[in-house]
Subunit: 347 residues, 2 copies
């Protein structure tokens, strides 16, 4: 379980909202924070060198792989990758495939990142479909650090998941929570429209049946929508369609609750004064709920890890994503997942 | 479009959280508020008479249909209805079927209510599956009364909806919003994991294609989870599985935001003071977000309307549910839906 052996993280530094410099800044900080992590920066060399010139970093553990192509945030992923065979995200994945790096991080176009993984990485034996996972804020804390976050997957990679896919997602989430959140025995639940085993569409009912008897993970049964914000389970499993809708709903929620609050308060001076006093606190809520800052969203199911940091990531979030990726590599996430999976080759 | 002709609403008065008296109180108020509405109270006569003896009502427009059986909130719907052929919710549906009443309202067991409808009512020609709809609070207002609510359906009746079912739900929601919210041209959207037409599982992509060319409704395309609290569409269409998860997530959300707020504020006295000042306001948010008070959840798709009021409904919510039911009857909701549906018999 030691992280002492050197780990190289490939950073796709292009196409993020705050520009290449911000991603380079996060990667540079990582080489100062973690003595065993090397950063391989993939992108436009001029921009990278310009950024590095003004940023403290450990030059012995920073390398640059130049390319002049990249995918912008607004581009259609498949078409963009076809047009740009030297796109930074494609090269980063290829460098990982070829063993030049152990995992990759990008704050660029999500779809392009997932496609780049699919092109260069292979699925773990027993896994049919990849999943995009993310942490989200909950009312209760969990794990060694008592973090008020749960993991939910899939949130958009596989919109039409079968029962076997849902089972694999449960395994991936368990392995990830165990390694990254230092949560030794994470509880895992299926998201459904009722807690009873027979609730939900056929794929969910069948997945429940399969998970019930599985060794190596702590399946606590079905949970309902109300349990998501509560944080009833450490790992929430659903198909990418439902997960994406839920995640985006959470994103819109704190904003809307404040709108509703204003609607309710508009006639009362006392309440208005209280809201003004709280404005700093509201900012703080935003911070707490801006869970993308907490290490990014892993694409799980491949033999190599890709951490998708949010497009808006600041340097600190990039550094965290790199640390998470290194931790996953150091603890052999892919092998942990493979060992937990039920009989391989079953669909 | 006149509501002047007499309408009779059958109230299943049994099995609600606050007891028969609270439901009777709501129905009694309706006979005072609305000169054209008759209330047919179905349940235990002793309890009904005891309640009526202490409540103002228009005795000429209140009738009682006695039964000593009913379904409790915790009972399994199908088994309970098998055991109790004289259950109040079954009798209420039967009385509607036989023309003794025009629509029904219940604050009891939801599943039993839906099953009772399925046993006594028939689906509107062209509709294959029923949908449970509900209003939920949004950031923006809509309709003649500028209500900050959108309609979402299905939220649990049909967990596995086909493309044709989703199209029918769009029609039902449009007709309902038009009649009940006096929103002449409600916008209707499909819930998906992206706004593009090709996003989502096959059933959603196919439904998008069908809705795009449809006359009689204003389809604005796909919306994402973030648009639910924002209120981007007047009518949100999804299958009962996704809708149920979303609805229950919304239920848990205001509570959890307050939890997170406490987590963020715990170190700051100023914030703590502000929260104390807001405690009355927080109650008010709860009121605004307790959207079950706003007329209940209609089961749409049958030739007769069933309004499911929340189990916790107070008399005012029951009165409102009765008014909504009468409005739907007076404006012939079922016929409005039937006329809007695409080529009948297509699946």
């Amino acid at each position: 379980m030691s992280q002492a052996r050197p780990v190289t993280i490939a950073f796709d530094v292009m196409g993020a909202d705050h520009g290449a410099a911000e991603v380079v800044r996060g990667a540079a900080q990582l080489t100062l924070d973690s003595p065993n992590i090397h950063a391989l920066l993939v992108g436009d060399r001029a921009q990278i060198d310009e950024a590095l010139a003004t940023i403290r970093h450990n030059a012995e553990r920073v390398a640059v792989h130049h390319t002049s192509e990249w995918v912008a945030m607004h581009e259609k992923p498949a078409a963009a990758l076809d047009d740009k065979p030297q796109a930074s995200v494609l090269l980063a994945a290829k460098l990982v495939k070829e063993g030049e790096a152990d995992a990759m991080v990008s704050a660029g176009n999500t779809g392009a990142g997932v496609l780049a993984c699919a092109k260069s990485f292979t699925l773990i034996p027993g896994v049919r479909r990849a999943a995009l996972a993310t942490v989200y804020p909950t009312a209760v804390g969990r794990g060694e650090k008592n973090d008020p976050f749960s993991l939910i997957l899939d949130v958009g990679a596989t919109v039409d998941a079968s029962a076997a896919d849902l089972v694999a997602f449960a395994v991936m989430g368990t392995a990830y929570a165990r390694i990254i959140s230092r949560n030794k025995d994470p509880s895992v639940a299926l998201l459904s429209n009722g807690t009873e085993a027979q609730k939900g569409p056929p794929r969910v009912v069948e997945a429940h049946e399969k998970l019930k008897g599985m060794a190596g993970l702590r399946f606590i049964g079905n949970i309902e929508g109300v349990d998501i914000p509560k944080g009833t389970a450490d790992v929430v499993v659903c198909d990418g369609f439902v997960g994406n809708v839920c995640l985006k709903m959470l994103e819109g929620v704190s904003e809307t609750v404040m709108e509703l609050a204003k609607y309710a308060y508009k006639e009362k001076l006392l309440w208005r004064a209280a809201l003004a006093m709280l404005s700093g606190g509201i900012e703080r809520i935003k911070e707490v709920t801006d869970w993308e800052q907490y290490g990014g969203a892993p694409i799980l199911g491949f033999n190599r890890l890709f951490i998708k940091a949010h497009g808006r990531s600041k340097a600190r979030a990039i550094t965290n994503a790199g640390k998470v990726a290194a931790k996953a590599v150091g603890n052999d996430l892919a092998m942990t997942i493979e060992k937990l999976l039920p009989g391989r080759g079953s669909s």
